[in-house]
């Protein structure tokens, strides 16, 4: 049976089966997760030669390594002999991996190094069975991306306008570099991955889902998404979208408001940024960090970085860590503390988002009305000076952009 995606994905509504049908999930693995560029991790997680860390691309167990010459590889964690895992530790430093089953060894770039009792294979150097390697690996602002397709759009082409948002994150560091060195929380949700992706730039839900924490902390975040907000939701193309909160932060016009603090609390950081950037420092310190969903799985929410990993049609793991800015220890302590309070299984924000994803998934077991509605703001959308579709702060412009790109990938003639 061939799925007719053009019927399931319409301009103002999408069909519930897209979130519940296991055969669609299987097609997504082929056409999205094992084809397009997927974010795997960050170069700072393997800072030194020999460093490695285990990662996941959907169901694929991948080892991210840094070789002696500094190059990052993504190796599939599967011995060429009997399919055993060659790496069990979550992270470490080693120039090679040795399969514990029969002792086959591989360099940290994947080439075979040796196999014990080699006479059984006619002697040394007779076999050249390496580990599987993700065909294309590229980085942007240190974010490491994988594509299982040997060819296709480059990472730069894939990122398009979303690249500028990662630049905007990096420029908050006095050294121009983000580091993801705080380790990851892994939060499991019984929900389809697309519910998470759609929620990330949904400006309609914060006042409802997060009203509890906003009310007890006096947070101004809810106002950023209110009907009076001057912030916008932008479809950045390529399935990427953002909540551009800069209009609100510019209106407030004070450095560090984006971070819910004032410059008096982080004087060393602010001084360093002013020394480095001169006049432009005010713009950087006022506009703050992006809130951007990079298709299909990288979400930067100002102070937190999420990598979404689908594990089944109705189960997803949301990996999350704090943004750390190289050269800004004063900021990093606060970034970590705020992030820990907000995200993950016990987070005062994300636990409630996750509860909603799970209720969405359960609700969709109901047979009617079959569709999910994504029309909010259609009538007031405009095209901005750069040609991107823009809606109000709480419009579903980002979701429509996501679905349009999703459909183009799922409908590709050569997808199989």
């Amino acid at each position: 049976m061939t799925v007719q995606y053009s019927e399931l994905i319409q301009p103002e509504r999408v069909h519930g089966s897209l979130y519940t049908d296991p055969s669609i999930f299987a097609e997504e693995l082929d056409r999205i997760w094992y084809r397009t560029w997927v974010c795997v991790g960050h170069a700072s997680e393997v800072a030194r030669p020999g460093d490695y860390v285990r990662k996941k691309v959907a169901a694929q167990d991948v080892i991210m390594t840094r070789s002696t010459d500094g190059e990052i590889s993504l190796l599939l964690n599967r011995c060429a002999h009997r399919g055993n895992l060659v790496c069990e530790d979550e992270r470490g430093n080693s120039g090679s991996f040795r399969c514990p089953y029969h002792g086959w060894t591989y360099r940290n770039t994947g080439e075979m190094l040796g196999y014990p009792y080699n006479q059984g294979y006619g002697g040394k150097g007779k076999l050249s069975l390496g580990l599987g390697r993700v065909p294309r690996v590229d980085t942007y602002q240190g974010f490491v991306f994988a594509s299982f397709a040997a060819d296709g759009p480059s990472l730069k082409e894939h990122l398009g306008a979303a690249a500028g948002e990662l630049d905007r994150l990096a420029r908050l560091s006095p050294e121009g570099e983000v580091e993801l060195t705080a380790g990851w929380l892994k939060h499991r949700a019984k929900a389809n991955w697309k519910l998470l992706v759609e929620n990330e730039t949904d400006g309609y839900h914060p006042q409802f889902v997060h009203g509890s924490v906003f009310s007890v902390t006096g947070s101004h975040i809810g106002n950023l998404y209110s009907d009076k907000s001057t912030a916008v939701t932008r479809d950045l193309g390529g399935g990427h979208s953002e909540n551009d909160l800069r209009p609100e932060f510019r209106r407030m016009g004070t450095p560090m408001t984006w971070f819910g603090t004032s410059e008096a609390k982080v004087p060393e950081y602010v001084a360093k940024m002013r020394e480095l950037h001169g006049k432009q420092a005010e713009e950087i310190l006022i506009e703050g960090a992006p809130h951007v969903m990079v298709f299909p799985n990288l979400f930067v929410a100002e102070i937190s970085v999420f990598m979404i990993q689908p594990t089944a049609v109705d189960e997803t793991v949301q990996n999350v860590t704090a943004v750390q800015l190289k050269g800004a220890p004063e900021m990093n302590r606060r970034l970590l503390s705020q992030c820990v309070g907000s995200v993950g299984p016990a987070g005062m924000l994300l636990a409630d988002d996750s509860e909603m994803y799970e209720r969405n998934q359960r609700g969709m077991a109901a047979r009617m009305p079959e569709w999910l509605d994504i029309r909010r703001g259609v009538g007031r959308e405009r095209v901005d000076e750069n040609g991107f579709r823009v809606g109000a702060a709480n419009d579903e412009t980002g979701m429509r952009g996501f679905w349009s790109h999703y459909r183009s990938l799922m409908e590709r003639e050569d997808a199989r």
């Binding site: 007890v216 992030c339 005062m348």
Partner: protein
């Protein structure tokens, strides 16, 4: 054990009574009662990944000082903390209680727990070892520190919005 009791005035029976009460308040969502157990220098910590992970440098599931405990409890009390509204039904068993050390006015206690959580998502089993720091304050025992090391802290976790 008798020498420990001399130093702190906390014997194992008192320790047990406190741990059981703390567990019951958490299980029954008695938020005010549970919050009142804490000292002003409180620390409530659930590490992620390794139990020895430095919380000043690495992500934790929970890393609450007294002020953040207050925020967490206030959020639960709004009734709109959806991850706990409706609240989970749960019961935990506390066992293998050991007095680990006496440090000044504090008695450090270790104990295992097994917790069954039931909510519409399904039934989840949580287990681990908790380190408590108990302090006698006048006629009362108060909680200065609670570190909960989950047996599955290295794996992906379901939402944990109740008091663990």
């Amino acid at each position: 054990m008798s020498s420990l009791a001399e130093h702190t005035g906390l014997d194992l029976r008192e320790v047990e009574r406190f741990l059981y009460r703390e567990a019951r308040l958490a299980d029954e969502h008695d938020y005010d009662g549970w919050e009142a157990l804490w000292t002003d220098d409180a620390l409530y910590w659930v590490p992620a990944g390794s139990p020895d992970a430095d919380p000043q440098r690495l992500m934790s599931v929970i890393y609450d000082n007294r002020s953040r405990i207050r925020t967490r409890i206030s959020q639960l009390k709004t009734g709109k903390r959806y991850a706990q509204s409706p609240p989970s039904n749960m019961r935990r068993l506390i066992s293998n209680i050991e007095v680990v050390a006496v440090e000044g006015a504090d008695t450090v206690v270790g104990a295992n727990f097994l917790l069954i959580e039931s909510r519409e998502r399904g039934t989840t089993m949580w287990a681990g070892r908790t380190t408590y720091r108990l302090r006698r304050v006048e006629d009362d025992i108060r909680l200065a520190y609670k570190k909960v090391v989950l047996v599955d802290s290295a794996e992906a976790l379901s939402t944990l919005a109740f008091l663990i």
